[in-house]
């Protein structure tokens, strides 16, 4: 198996009167089809690492390879293009656009990519919503959905352009236990059934226990003793 996502000596430092190091020398390799959970205490740099791996942020030092390509020389627009084609994001808050219907939200990345016509994009959007069990909500506005439904729509949107990697930041953080279990199952299936690589930041030990690999992060550094201390 080849590494779909590789980080080498990543450092992310916020300059200021008191410089803060968010990520400190992290190196890792993530294979295609793996479900990875990144764990650690609050402020340990989990989300910062996820943003670096997701090309949303640029490291102060170090490099990220996505699908075998070094992204360190990419300009902002090139990074955006890689995010559009190869990455999908799911956040703790769903961030669905309130002006649009559920289906419109899901087709938004497809329309931005512009490879499918409107009809094909709608059909794909409906299939994704169907796969996630929310096809019947397609015409509704996000505020008319429950928290779990919104998060499933957000996952459908993340899958819109058939990305290689799904990056999830506390995807179950705002959900009740039933919805949380449902989202966990969906992400695991995405990795194990659909062959997507899933990298999820979580505090939730139950969620993390479903992952193939758990990476512990303490003070911005990898500390693989951390996950073992978490309750399962």
């Amino acid at each position: 198996m080849s590494a779909v996502l590789r980080a080498e000596s990543l450092v992310r430092r916020l300059e200021g009167e008191v410089p803060v190091t968010l990520v400190d020398g992290v190196s890792l390799e993530i294979e295609r089809g793996q479900f990875i959970a990144i764990m650690g205490p609050s402020g340990s740099g989990k989300s910062s690492l996820l943003y670096l791996l997701g090309l949303l942020d640029v490291p102060t030092q170090g490099r990220v390879w996505l699908d075998g390509q070094d992204t360190s020389t990419y300009r902002e627009d090139e990074l955006a293009d890689r995010r559009l084609r190869k990455l999908g994001f799911v956040f703790q808050f769903h961030f669905l656009l309130a002006e649009f219907t559920v289906l419109d939200n899901v087709t938004l990345p497809m329309r931005r990519l512009g490879e499918l016509d409107a009809e094909a994009a709608s059909a794909r959007g409906m299939k994704l919503l169907g796969d996630l069990g929310v096809a019947d909500q397609a015409a509704k506005r996000p505020h008319q959905l429950s928290g779990g439904q919104r998060q499933r729509v957000a996952i459908a949107r993340a899958l819109a352009n058939d990305p290689l990697v799904i990056l999830a930041d506390e995807p179950t953080g705002n959900l009740d236990s039933a919805s949380s279990a449902n989202v966990q199952q969906i992400l695991r299936d995405l990795a194990h059934v659909s062959g997507k690589t899933v990298v999820a930041v979580t505090h939730d030990g139950t969620f993390a226990s479903a992952a193939d690999q758990r990476i512990g992060l303490v003070d911005g550094k990898i500390n693989n003793e951390w996950p073992t201390r978490m309750p399962a």
């Binding site: 989300s47 949303l56 627009d77 955006a80 956040f91 808050f93 419109d104 931005r112």
Partner: protein, 414 residues
């Protein structure tokens, strides 16, 4: 572009009240722009029309803008010659060889020309004397270049042809001397004997100085009276297109050598005044639109602030900064376009209402309507200015939106 439009419409329609306020600002701005512009330009055109209609478009006189080159200087142009204290030869003033020059001017397209001998004379009646301006004219040609024929209230200009000793005077002069059609008076010029002439026409222009002092006689009679046989000292020219006067005057002056003064040159101070007035007017009405554009700026700034998380998520999805900027610029354009369309319609209503306002200025017997200009340029100008203001107002928030760094927002939201 379609996606950006959909998002832009989505933003505007979900903030209906604020969008409506911005839109109303643009609508009123464009409407007032049009109403004021049409009124000011209308009054300007009305003023110029009166100016142009009541004076010759071009007057060629027996003067030179620059002294004529001396033959010696022409002959030895490269020589070290300095000519000073040149005294003009004593000669009868007037346009030399005026018939040939008149033929040249007559041959030019789009104009009518009348030769005139203009001078001063003294009018004597019942022991009273009055200095007057005397114009020797050919009635047939004068009709084509002057509106004096329309101002005749008794007799006619044409009567001069039938009676070579006839004179046409203004109503003011007739009143002063108690003259009427058929009255006989004596006219003399310095150095020439007095001649008895008969009033064959009385005009009234409404301009007191003109009605009190101007007189018309037959050209040949004026040449005798002023002792300038076979001379004229003015060509009065009227053009089909009065606004071509400046160019035509230059062309005539270049060809015949005598000074050709267009109405535009003669009224340069008035034209400058109108220009300044237009600049003031456009500054004021543009200010209305600039104020309206602050409404758009305010609306879009609020939307950018409220939609920061949406912008962050769109950028995380792969939207470029320019995609985000385009969305907000489009929002400004939508407000500008819709506002301009409704503003143009409302402006037309204002213009129609203004055109029906009737005023009776003091001392004027007939009521006059406000002069409104319906020219198409002002619609384009109003819409273009509105769109320009909206674009500028939208660009600043759009730039801010494009600069949103998703991580800064996402980190604060989670």
């Amino acid at each position: 572009m379609r996606l950006a439009l959909d998002i832009a419409f989505g933003h505007l329609t979900t903030r209906k009240r604020q969008t409506l306020v911005s839109l109303t600002g643009v609508v009123l701005g464009v409407a007032f722009f049009l109403a004021v512009s049409s009124l000011m330009r209308g009054s300007e055109k009305d003023f110029l029309k009166r100016l142009v209609d009541n004076s010759p478009h071009i007057t060629v006189s027996d003067e030179y803008r620059r002294p004529r080159e001396q033959p010696a200087a022409l002959r030895w142009s490269d020589g070290a010659i300095a000519i000073s204290n040149v005294k003009p030869q004593t000669e009868t003033r007037g346009i030399r060889g005026y018939r040939q020059k008149l033929e040249f001017v007559e041959a030019l397209p789009g104009l009518r020309v009348a030769p005139v001998l203009y001078g001063s004379a003294v009018l004597t009646f019942a022991g009273r004397q009055e200095g007057v301006a005397l114009s020797g004219v050919i009635p047939e040609t004068l009709k084509g270049v002057s509106t004096i024929d329309e101002k005749i209230i008794e007799g006619s200009i044409g009567a001069l042809s039938a009676n070579p000793n006839g004179i046409v005077i203004g109503k003011g002069l007739a009143g002063k001397f108690n003259l009427s059609l058929g009255s006989t008076l004596a006219v003399s010029a310095p150095g020439t004997p007095s001649r008895s002439m008969k009033v064959v026409g009385i005009f009234r222009t409404g301009q007191a100085s003109y009605d009190d002092t101007q007189t018309y006689v037959l050209l040949k009679r004026a040449q005798v009276l002023l002792d300038r046989p076979n001379r004229v000292n003015r060509f009065i020219i009227q053009l089909d297109d009065p606004y071509a006067a400046r160019d035509t005057a230059s062309r005539i002056e270049a060809a015949i050598g005598y000074k050709a003064l267009s109405w535009a040159e003669a009224s340069e101070d008035i034209v400058s005044l109108l220009l300044v007035r237009n600049i003031i007017m456009y500054s004021v009405v543009s200010a209305i639109l600039i104020v309206a554009s602050f409404g758009i700026y305010n609306t879009l700034s609020t939307i950018v602030m409220e939609k920061t998380r949406d912008i962050a998520i769109m950028k995380s999805m792969g939207f470029h900064a320019r995609d985000v900027r385009r969305i907000f610029v489009l929002e400004g354009l939508i407000v500008g376009t819709v506002g301009s369309l409704f503003g143009l319609a409302l402006g037309l209503v204002f213009m129609k209402a203004l055109s029906e306002v009737s005023l009776r200025p003091p001392g004027v017997t007939e009521a006059v309507n406000l002069p409104i200009w319906w020219g198409p340029e002002q619609y384009a100008l109003a819409a273009a200015f509105a769109l320009g203001s909206c674009l500028v107002a939208a660009y600043l928030p759009a730039r801010r939106a494009g600069a949103v760094h998703p991580v800064d927002i996402l980190r604060g939201s989670t």
